[in-house]
Symmetry: C2
Subunit: 312 residues, 2 copies
């Protein structure tokens, strides 16, 4: 809580807010008025998105410690700014808290704060309510001169993806089965990183469209194909994989928070040199109708079932 934060009134709700602010430390900035006040850089557009992580729907308590959960919810929301090529301006955090989570609020807040710091932004406001389960609803605010939409893919573009895929899906499959995931897979699940700097680099480098991998590469490509009204052909043998997963498992792995972009002749070596993250060409864009075609050993194969939330 910074010096410019306003004093809060009395009451139990405010005690909980104080515990959260203590956990956030200097990552919480100017909290306490009816609305947060920010400045959008002159000439830039405002970009906003909201994302929720709900207990029993998106996660179970035993999978992550509270700080990891806060980190993951925050990075998931920031990933939508990354996919637009935007810089973050601030974050609003709305929590519903069941009784069994009250004592973990400080730790949860510390994970949210750590993610905000890693992204170079601050927590500017929020809301706290009781609820029947924990839910973290994160609003992200950002800005960009020219944002990167979903609907800009052009026939003749290549399709690129950042990072290596499959870790979160593999970890989730083990966790749902009450088994211990591979530590490397768990790390990808517990500590995703929103590709914010990477998204801005790609926008400047001439990417035509982007989406982040949240529902699984196959499903997110379908969103991009629908928005851009193009046919996307992906070669499964080119999809970059974490160790221990198949390409088809990687296609269905959700909550990766890597970026898929389209564009021509993006310089993968320069990208990797700057960020230490691979950028891999995995296919091509051709004229619509909107469709995703997966190719393996020269033959078309059926898409995976896609990322499933818990107990849908």
């Amino acid at each position: 809580m910074t010096d410019d934060a306003l004093p809060l009134g009395p009451g139990a709700e405010f005690d909980a807010i104080r515990a959260m602010l203590a956990g956030m430390g200097d990552a919480a900035h100017g909290i306490g008025d009816d609305a947060a006040v920010m400045s959008v850089p002159r000439g830039e557009q405002l970009l906003t998105s909201v994302d929720a992580m709900v207990e029993h729907v998106h996660f179970r308590r035993e999978w992550l410690d509270p700080a990891e959960l806060g980190w993951r919810a925050t990075m998931a929301a920031l990933s939508d700014l990354a996919a637009m090529g935007a810089s973050p301006l601030g974050i609003l955090v709305a929590l519903e808290v069941s009784a069994d989570w009250t004592s973990s609020l400080g730790e949860l807040a510390s994970g949210i704060a750590e993610a905000a710091r890693a992204a170079g932004t601050t927590i500017r406001g929020g809301n706290l309510s009781r609820g029947e389960q924990l839910s973290i609803t994160t609003t992200v605010l950002g800005s960009a001169f020219a944002s990167l939409p979903r609907n800009g893919a052009q026939a003749g573009d290549s399709i690129y993806v950042t990072g290596v895929l499959g870790g979160p899906g593999a970890a989730l499959a083990r966790l749902v089965g009450m088994r211990r995931p591979d530590p490397a897979h768990r790390e990808r699940f517990a500590h995703p990183v929103a590709r914010l700097r990477e998204g801005r680099w790609l926008a400047r480098a001439g990417a035509t469209a982007a989406i982040d991998v949240s529902d699984g590469l196959a499903a997110d490509l379908a969103h991009l194909a629908a928005a851009s009204a193009v046919r996307l052909e992906v070669h499964l043998d080119r999809v970059p994989l974490v160790e221990g997963v198949t390409a088809m498992q990687a296609m269905a792995s959700g909550e990766e928070f890597e970026l898929v972009v389209t564009g021509r002749g993006l310089d993968a070596a320069a990208f990797t040199g700057q960020f230490g993250v691979p950028l891999t060409a995995i296919g091509t864009v051709s004229p619509g109708p909107a469709e995703v075609v997966l190719v393996e050993n020269g033959a078309r194969v059926a898409p995976p079932g896609g990322h499933d939330h818990l107990s849908r």
Copy 2:
């Protein structure tokens, strides 16, 4: 859904989103990318706030129809912009929906849309998740040249409140007791109106500080006193009341979404002439320490218990 909205991908979640977009009609604007893109008017600041309305915590299903609920959640969130003297730029709506609410999503969305239209703004994005109860988390985005903070009240100012108080509290007391509320009180509970134009008028007229009445006038005055480090003295016989409530009941009535402002010599007649809403001087600001003093028949009286959410 307007022409510039992007096509959505397949799946049950998207069917639900389509039902909501149908209910919102032309009040939903440009939805479908990773983030909503808006412009903040040149020279103005961005103001944002997030507010949640959670079933069993803030309301019970039998109290309001789904359209009323959507209206009320949206106006409650917009009220935070009103209290800052801001103009709305757009709204993000994050819903958690339990199975028994799925068929009501269209009607809920129509109420959200009606409130957005009444406020002269649009729904620019959102999120949809399952949950164990219905919750509506609304992010509001607005802008202002000079916003109206909580911490600007000065010794020598008067204290003013818009509208007439006590309706929502009286309605809630009946509803919690499973009794039918007075229709006028129920109307104030079901259809609050965020005082957006009024807030901007008050900011231009020289108001020094403002807060909206969400926790109850007594509690919200305490927040304002704490933020401004001043003593606020309120004369109970001056508090404007709906018919059928006492001043003390009105002081404890929450979710009014009227504005309390401080300032000198605000022109109540001009205000009422313009908006058809009373503006009433109810007390005075003097030097701190922060305190709220209620006076009745010349004697200090104890404050009410304050607004209580359900089953706290």
